[in-house]
Every structure is written in C-alpha cells, then in structure tokens.
C-alpha cells in the first residue's frame, strides 16, 4: 500500500523532475558553448556563413511581416484616433509602436519560427546521422563549430533584422495612411519622429540581442540532444520553435520592465 503511494507520488513528480533536468542540462550546455566560443581557434568563416543564413535569408520574410504590421497598425489605429480627435497623432502612434515593441517582438518570433526550426532540425538530423560524432572524430568541437557560431549569428543579426522590420512597417504605415489622406513621407516622418527619443529606439532594438540568444541557444540545445531517430528530430524541431517563442515573450516582459526602469 505504502509502496503504491510512493510510486504514484514519484510518477506525479516525474514532469517536475524532467523540467529541472532540462534547465540543468541547458545550463551545462550554455557553459560548454561559452567556453568553446572564447577558446581559439575561432570559427570566423562558419560564423559569417551562419550570419548569412540567419540574416540575409530571413530578410525578405521579416520585411514582408514588418510591412503587414505597418498596414494593420495604420488601418486599426486610424478609426480609434479619429474618434478621439487625434488623427494627427497617427504617424507617431505607428512609428513609436513599431519601434518600441511591435518590430522587435515580431522579428524575434519570426526568426524563432524560421531559424529556430531550421537549426533544431539541421542539428538534430546531424546528431542522428552521426555527423556530429564525425566532427568530433575530426578534432572539431561541435559546441564551437555548430552551436557557438549559430548562437552568435542569431544575436548579431536580430538587431539588424529588427531595423529592417521597423523600416518596412513604417513605410507601409505611411503608404496606407497616404492612400486615405495624402501626406508626404517627409511630413509623416517629421510628425512621427518628433515623439521618438533615444530611449524609444536603441534599448528596444538591442533587446533583440537577447531574443537572438534565446533562439540560438534553445534551438541548438534541442537539436544537439536529440534521441530517437527521425521522431526525435521532429520533436526537437517543434520544441525549438515553441520553447524559443515562449521564452522570447517571457523575456520581453522582463526586458520591457527593465528598459522602463533603466531608461525612464
């Protein structure tokens, strides 16, 4: 009877134990990658290749997403602002909301979907087909060559992609606005940027470095710990996207609060 209760309690605690194990393994993974990243020789060529993979190959997607956000923001806020007699504030609302929040978070989530899934699947299949083992046999540290380069590329490229998203959203916001009520792009920018300070631009843009680290770390970690063949690869791909997206949203909550405190 007592042993039955013990096993039921232990079974109930299993998910909790798996949760803490996951974080523990993630901690070891991060430490190993950090140590590998600062130890020469540096994988500059692979880093540049990964920057291209993360940056230029995501650019079109990010630009389209940013454009869509600009259109939606312009359409949605116009009526509300007209109701409050604040139509002239439309450029400022679009630009500030894109720069401060929408651009960074949309970029983070899209990169998490495109790049996170790609890294999780690629590293996962490398793991199950023994390519990672082959790399180690060749004397190459996979934590440096595969993980550190990808994580760093994500951290470096996210702010640049965010700028692209911001730019694209601001331009389409103006385009939609000017279709309804013609306005020059110069005037639109003047009205919008009048309300934008340094603190509205740099901290939110650079917080995406953290989003990039999250995408890179989670997807590389999930990919490199795959077990169980192709089914495991599928699981790693899904986990990479889901966990990275969730962590980006949670990190955003903390970072927004932090930015408000540090840059009032």
């Amino acid at each position: 009877m007592a042993s039955g209760t013990f096993y039921r309690v232990e079974a109930g605690l299993q998910p909790l134990r798996a949760f803490f194990e996951w974080f523990g393994e993630l901690g070891f993974f991060c430490a190993r990658v950090a140590r590998a990243a600062v130890t020469p020789p540096y994988e500059v060529r692979e880093l540049i290749r990964q920057c291209d993979e993360v940056g230029s190959k995501s650019a079109l997607l990010i630009a389209v997403a940013g454009a869509a956000i600009g259109v939606v923001l312009s359409l949605e806020t116009r009526n509300s602002l007209i109701q409050f007699g604040a139509e002239s504030m439309l450029p400022a609302v679009i630009i500030v909301s894109i720069i401060r929040e929408t651009g960074p978070i949309i970029t983070g989530l899209i990169v998490s979907g495109r790049v996170g899934a790609g890294f999780g699947a690629a590293l996962g299949s490398m793991k199950v087909t023994e390519q990672i083992d082959a790399m180690q046999v060749s004397g190459v540290d996979p934590y440096k060559y595969l993980a550190a380069t990808r994580i760093l590329a994500c951290a470096l490229m996210l702010p640049l992609l965010t700028l692209l998203c911001d730019f694209s959203g601001i331009v389409t916001g103006w385009a939609v606005n000017t279709l309804v009520k013609p306005m020059s792009f110069q005037l639109y920018l003047d009205l919008g940027l009048k309300h934008v300070a340094f603190n509205d631009f740099l901290p939110p843009t650079f917080k995406t470095v953290v989003f990039g680290l999250i995408v890179g770390i989670v997807s590389c970690f999930e990919g490199m710990r795959v077990r169980g063949g192709t089914e495991g690869v599928g699981r790693a791909t899904t986990n990479s996207v889901v966990i990275a997206s969730l962590f980006i949203i949670l990190a955003d909550v903390v970072l927004v609060r932090l930015i408000l405190v540090l840059f009032p």
């Binding site: 490398m126 087909t129 023994e130 082959a134 790399m135 180690q136 060749s138």
Partner: protein
C-alpha cells in the same frame, strides 16, 4: 614488421551502461599494430559502442583504453584530439556532412589538422578521391550519391590524415553484394598498401573472414571467444556454434 609489433589498441576491463543497463561488461582486447580484427556479434551487443569508446566519443564507466600506449580515458580534449588524428573512423552510414560537397567532406579533417597551402590540400583530396574511385563526383553533395559511394567518400575522409588505426562500423551494411565486395576490396587494398591497424565491427561473417586476421565474438557484453575463423567454427560453445550455423 612482425618483429616490431606493439599493441596499437589495448582494452582492459571496459564497462559501459546506459540507463542502468550494462552494454559492455568488462571487455579485454588487445590488437597489435598492423593487425586487423573483426568484432562480431548479434545486434545490440555493444559492438558500435565499443568503437565509440575506442575513439573517445563516449567514456567508459570503468576500465582503460590505450591507443598506442596512451590511456585516452582521462585525456583532456586537446590531447584526445591529437590521438584522434591518428585514428580514422568509417561510420555505418558514412556520416558525411550534408551541406558540404564530396570534396569539402574529405578536406574537412585536413583543414582542421594541417596548416598546408590550399593547393597541397586540394592535391591530397584529389589523391584520396582517386584512391576510392570518386574523383569524378567531387562536386556532388552527399544527397546526390548512392550509399556505396557515400561509404567510399567516408573512407577517403577517414584516410585523410594518414591514420595509423582505422575503425570500421559495419562497412558493408545495407549495400548490395557487388558494392559490398568493392568496399571489401578497397579495405584489403588499404591493408596491403598501408599496413594500418583496423577494427571492423560487422555482422557479415564472409566479410569478416576475408578482411581480418582475427575474429572476436561478442556476447552478453563481453568477448566470448577470439581466434581465426576456423578456430571459432570448431568451438563447442552453444552460442558460437549457433552464431556460425545461422550466419553461414
């Protein structure tokens, strides 16, 4: 050569478990320099694990692994990589890097371990690809070539650093008989030309007999019996008799 034979690989009391289940149970095996040993056994008996322990991809729970006199179980990564440079590994599915061409795959270990000029490296890659008959496909990606061709490229990559020891994990598994015979021929050629120490993990009794000097049969996480094919065939142990009867 015979007079100067020192052990190239010495395994002593190797134990390895996964999730509490013992896979290797105190393995002892000595392989002389220039010798080829085929490790046989049923699926799941830990043959591939044994190879991964020898190359340091996994750590044993206990026991020692000496490669050319150096115990690799406690070596730091830098020293372990120096030992690995002397050991080539042909993986079961060749484990070629998907994103690199055939040529780049073979050049990969050379770029890591040798600081030579690009020209020298290219010459070496060409030489290796010619050795395995793959020079015409050097620009192809692994996804564009057959399983047998992948094995050839994997072998060229394993030979890139002029290893003293070669480890083969099921070198002919999944290949048609003609391609398997071609791979066996290549391995025999290597034995003849380079006198490399080899460990071949295989299910294939015929291949093992053709390629090796000595056979070792694994059973229940240990080496049950070692010797020539004839010696093993005449064993009265029930498992050995059954293995050779079923495998014949």
């Amino acid at each position: 050569m015979e007079g100067t034979r020192d052990p190239a690989i010495v395994l002593e009391g190797l134990h390895k478990s996964f999730d509490g289940e013992a896979v290797l149970n105190g393995i002892d095996l000595k392989i002389d320099a220039g010798e080829t040993v085929a490790v046989l056994g049923r699926s799941g008996t830990g043959k591939s694990v044994l190879l991964k322990l020898i190359i340091g991809l996994q750590k044993p729970d206990s026991g020692s692994i000496k490669i050319q006199g150096r115990d690799i179980t406690s070596l730091p990564l830098k020293d372990l990589n120096a030992v690995r440079a002397k050991v080539g590994f042909l993986f079961q599915e060749a484990a070629l890097y998907d994103s690199l061409t055939v040529e780049e795959n073979v050049a990969f270990p050379l770029r890591r371990h040798r600081n030579g000029q690009t020209r020298e490296r290219k010459d070496r890659v060409r030489e290796l690809l010619a050795l395995v008959g793959m020079e015409a496909d050097s620009g192809k990606l692994p996804g564009q070539i057959s399983g047998g061709m992948k094995k050839r490229v994997g072998l060229a990559r394993a030979l890139a650093l002029d290893p003293d020891i070669l480890l083969f994990d099921e070198p002919t598994a999944g290949l048609d008989p003609i391609t398997a015979a071609e791979i066996e021929e290549l391995i025999l050629k290597l034995r003849k030309d380079h006198a490399i120490t080899s460990v071949i993990v295989t299910h294939d009794l015929h291949g093992a007999a053709v390629l090796s000097d000595r056979l070792a049969l694994m059973h229940e996480g240990n080496i049950l019996i070692e010797g020539s094919l004839q010696e093993l065939k005449h064993s009265t142990h029930p498992f050995v008799s059954q293995f050779f009867r079923e495998g014949a």
